[in-house]
């Protein structure tokens, strides 16, 4: 009896099924195409200038004057780059810049990662004012910071050294390093850290073996930010150095009275290391164990 009632309940209704409306599907497809077009446009907007700079920097001087400008690298030449690299202070500036970038990165991670951890994990007195105070460093213009720093460094004998620029850049990078890493440490469950303690880790070991690896994406993001900031920072580096110029400072000081080819080569050399660095750090940004965040 119950069988019969079931059959009756599931029997199709007598009226015809309504026609399937496919318009939402079409709308969805159209939106996807628009999104793709948008992505391509933005990529072009970012990539085209870099490509043009690279093209000009690797073309001969004569090719630069041609009209219309060729988009294909048909007359490849290292002449421009060579002249640029051989001009005074460029190679030294490049070495200084790389040094400043790396040391700034290391120093800001050494100080910033534990600070970020502390902000994320512990409720210590004055935590909120501390977080606000961190941002004040960025609120002051670099010029305002640099001039007193220059005087201080002159007195202490640090002026015109790589270390001076490293210290300034570290101070500039720390707030973001701390804020970025603390937000990532917040995402590391306390349980996991406690599990590490239970299974034999001291607090420091638990941090190094479990918490740090889980915070890698955030640390990578902070690293990229720090390195690129340090690489691009001109004003402070110009004020704090005279002979030990970083590359941007060096290029800036000689930009106005240089030929077009020099500017392209300078631009190219400024862009490349940052790109290479981002390229290598990228996989730490997006790759989480077993689940790729994209």
């Amino acid at each position: 009896m119950s069988h019969a009632t079931t059959n009756k309940a599931t029997a199709p209704a007598d009226r015809p099924a309504p026609e399937v409306d496919r318009r939402p599907l079409a709308r969805r497809r159209r939106n996807r195409i628009l999104l793709q077009v948008g992505c391509i446009l933005i990529t072009l907007f970012m990539a085209l200038p870099i490509y043009l700079i690279a093209l000009s920097a690797t073309s001969s001087r004569a090719a630069l004057q041609e009209f219309p400008l060729s988009f294909i690298p048909n007359n490849f030449s290292l002449e421009t780059m060579q002249t640029f690299l051989q001009s005074t202070g460029i190679l030294g500036g490049l070495i200084n810049s790389v040094q400043v970038g790396i040391f700034t990165l290391l120093l800001s991670l050494i100080i910033g990662v534990p600070a970020g951890y502390a902000v994320a994990r512990f409720a210590f007195p004055g935590r909120d004012p501390y977080q606000l105070f961190l941002l004040f460093t960025r609120a002051l213009p670099i010029v305002v910071l640099s001039v007193p720093l220059a005087q201080l460094f002159l007195q202490t004998g640090l002026y015109d050294s790589v270390l001076a620029v490293v210290l300034l850049h570290t101070a500039l990078a720390l707030p973001t390093t701390i804020l970025i890493t603390s937000s990532v440490f917040l995402g590391v469950p306390r349980d996991v850290e406690e599990a590490a303690r239970i299974f034999g880790c001291s607090p420091v070991q638990a941090f190094l073996k479990v918490v740090m690896p889980m915070a890698i994406p955030g640390i990578a993001a902070a690293s990229i930010f720090t390195f690129v900031m340090s690489w691009n920072e001109v004003l402070g580096a110009s004020i704090l150095t005279l002979n030990q110029r970083t590359l941007p400072a060096q290029v800036l000081s000689s930009l106005a009275e240089s030929p077009l080819a020099y500017r392209f080569a300078g631009g190219f050399l400024l862009v490349i290391p940052a790109l290479i660095f981002i390229f290598f750090m990228r996989r730490y940004l997006t790759n989480m164990w077993g689940s790729t965040i994209r």
Partner: protein, 362 residues
């Protein structure tokens, strides 16, 4: 393996005025499976965390195997733990997750591999050893957490609601499996749960906690059948124990809902002395039988709600103004509004003091 001895533990969390555990003392024998059961906020997890060394008590002492560990850091206590949220390390493969504690203990490589293989086999994780936890289901992740805990050969195994994040069917399966594994290992286990079925089914002894104190400690069946107070009776069992307001008259009759039956000897005696005694009558739903209205020795009641559960039918009834739940076989046909008689299984009736809520026994 070792016994756990907890004495007079007091703990207040910073920023709170209430005691998380209030003078708790508990002895867990070697190889015993002890379950801490209670509603959320009763202090059971705090107690476990203090045994683990993740929190420190304000007062009292904890010793494991005769060694005082009250203020030792967790890594020096030789214990292992299964967390409610699994807490597997997401950046390590299943293999290194399971072996993590052994690596920290600097166990030789071949022994480590043997143990990991043994635990993986026991928990059916062998095919997943080279995967990351993110590629596993929740149940498999919890298996990893259990495997990680059992390879340690620790003195004490702690479990903090290990089944509560699993879905109902999986929980049932894993519960039996967990019981089997722990029996095989024979390790001293302290298990925290708010699920009374888990507590009943797993434990050798269960400690029911309430507001930072142990309300009753005993064999699960004893706790179920003879709750020490109204709280325990109401917390354990599904549906919880029925509580009816009643009174033992000077003549030795038990009056419930305006109807009277015979009162047990010891209550009759004290009622005769004091000239009547108000009592709280506790009776479980499965110890009440349905009879025809008017049968001698029954109480008149009216059926209000009928809930067929499949294996039984749960009836909500009105007994002279008080609500009572009755569980009958699913073959019994009743409908709401029906007037019936209820007979209580005299041996299963419990009495509680109306003021202290404590159980009254002879």
């Amino acid at each position: 393996m070792a016994d756990i001895s907890i004495k007079g533990l007091k703990k207040t969390y910073p920023g709170s005025t209430e005691l998380a555990t209030n003078n708790v003392s508990l002895d867990v024998a070697e190889g015993e499976f002890m379950v801490l059961l209670g509603p959320s906020g009763c202090g059971k997890t705090t107690l476990l965390r203090m045994v683990a060394g993740l929190d420190f008590p304000d007062e009292g002492s904890i010793s494991i195997g005769g060694r005082d560990v009250t203020y030792l850091p967790p890594q020096d206590r030789n214990l292992s733990m299964v967390f409610q949220s699994y807490a597997v390390f997401p950046h390590r493969k299943v293999r290194t997750n399971i072996g993590f504690g052994l690596v920290m203990k600097k166990v030789p490589r071949d022994e480590l591999e043997k143990k990991v293989a043994w635990a993986a086999d026991l928990l059916q994780l062998t095919p997943y050893l080279d995967r990351y936890p993110a590629q596993l289901s929740g149940g498999q992740r919890q298996r990893v957490a259990v495997a990680r805990a059992i390879v340690m050969d620790a003195d004490v195994l702690l479990m903090d609601e290990p089944l509560s994040n699993l879905d109902a069917l999986l929980r049932l399966d894993f519960r039996a499996e967990l019981k089997k594994i722990v029996q095989q290992l024979g390790s001293t286990t302290l298990y925290v749960t708010h699920d009374q079925v888990e507590a009943m089914s797993l434990s050798d002894r269960v400690a029911v906690m309430k507001k930072g104190q142990i309300a009753q400690l005993g064999h699960p069946i004893t706790v179920y059948e003879e709750p020490a107070d109204r709280f325990v009776g109401g917390f354990i069992g599904s549906p919880p124990m029925n509580f009816l307001e009643g009174r033992v008259t000077q003549q030795g009759a038990l009056e419930v809902a305006g109807q009277s039956t015979e009162a047990p000897e010891f209550l009759a005696r004290s009622a005769a002395r004091s000239g009547g005694l108000p009592v709280m009558v506790g009776i479980r739903a499965e110890n009440i039988y349905l009879e025809d209205r008017g049968t001698p020795g029954t109480l008149d009641a009216t059926v209000e709600v009928v809930e067929p559960l499949g294996h039984a039918t749960l009836l909500t009834m009105d007994l002279g103004g008080q609500t009572i739940k009755v569980q009958v076989a699913s073959t019994v046909r009743v409908s709401s509004g029906e007037k019936v008689g209820l007979r209580f299984d005299q041996a299963a009736i419990r009495f509680f003091d109306t003021e202290t809520q404590l159980g009254l026994t002879a």
